[in-house]
Symmetry: C2
Subunit: 227 residues, 2 copies
């Protein structure tokens, strides 16, 4: 490849990566707004989340097209190909995080219609904090190709799963004792379920980082096997 084309190619790769990070920032904000809307029973904020999720969906389509275009025109070597495929995969996960934030927003709207006590969100807040952290760490690890950070992301998903199981257990017994608040408790369980799924997507992003960097290592040792 001549230096001019190689520079253009690097610029295209950087643009794809930046667009993914921009999408990540949008999704983080969606997630914060969705959980805030639920805890504050703020239906107006929840409606904003549902609208913003549409922009995130469009961004996934754009990133996908951009990456496929680059692959088709540039015919990149294995490690660059791996980067582009990881960007596409990560954008799919971020789009799904946006969908889950939309589901939390839907639950926030349902909950705002009920007369649910505002002081019963500490279990949900705990999971929300863990989820915000894992998404931020997953994006950081991807941006810096940090495998150690990615391994921590992969490991930390378990804490979210455990906190979620505990919330379901507690809320299920609460529902048995106080059947009147079942609708509200179900909303909170669904929203927590969405957070638990978001943890899975962040974990996927961590796995792409490992796949990416490990692949580059393999290539560095002269192997052609991918994956």
């Amino acid at each position: 490849m001549n230096p001019h084309i190689s520079e253009q190619f690097d610029a295209e790769l950087d643009a794809a990566r930046s667009q993914l990070m921009e999408m990540g920032g949008m999704v983080e904000k969606l997630l914060r707004d969705a959980t805030e809307a639920l805890v504050d029973q703020d239906a107006a904020l929840a409606e904003k989340v549902k609208l913003a999720d549409k922009r995130v969906n469009q961004l996934e389509v754009d990133i996908d097209e951009q990456c496929v275009n680059i692959i088709a025109r540039r015919q990149p070597a294995a490690s660059d190909l791996r980067t582009l495929i990881s960007v596409m995969k990560a954008s799919t996960d971020l789009e799904r995080v946006g969908d889950e934030a939309g589901r939390i927003a839907k639950m926030a709207i349902s909950l705002a219609d009920l007369d649910y006590p505002t002081d019963e969100f500490s279990d949900f807040r705990h999971i929300a904090t863990l989820t915000h952290q894992i998404v931020a760490s997953g994006l950081d690890a991807f941006a810096r190709l940090d495998t150690d950070g990615a391994m921590r992301v992969i490991a930390s998903d378990q804490a979210i799963d455990d906190a979620y199981d505990e919330l379901v257990r507690q809320r299920s017994s609460k529902m048995r004792e106080d059947p009147e608040s079942i609708e509200g408790d179900m909303c909170i369980i669904w929203a927590a379920r969405a957070l638990e799924r978001i943890g899975d997507h962040a974990k996927n992003i961590g796995e792409y980082v490992v796949y990416l960097v490990r692949g580059q290592d393999l290539r560095g040792r002269g192997k052609h096997q991918l994956g």
Copy 2:
């Protein structure tokens, strides 16, 4: 490309597609077994599903490696590239269907421990039938690159969402009237939720077919835009 290399390349593309279809067959069986295990409260069958899900996960990794390898070595033109990327995406969705079948199996095991009436599964059975159909139709549409079939798959996901919403509504009021059976009802709601998610994955597969075929059309009209 010389004819010999072109034939090899076609054989590789076919092999990737066949492996995806094999994975699809495995996932369909997992789904059937998981829903049967739940309805029959058959913990032994549910354990088998959980084991088989591991093989499905490995198959996704294999298909992914195979496709990335083909792209790196063959540097395919846009429409073949699109096929390979669609195969990779569809395999991710099938792997997630396997995960959801695993979740249904987990619920089947929990339910088998409870003393839950065996005659209360008609709502769940209805969603299970719709879900089996949408997965089979999604795979068929992919195998035959049938956009009409794919459009029907995309449209039919709504029926599953509606049936699922209805099940949650009915079971939530039942829980209020009969708090003793909350654990069992929750198991069935979670399992139905897994079916609803499986419908989303089948819908995604339908969308890849449209993306694939529409892309080829665009290319046929001399456009270079992908997606």
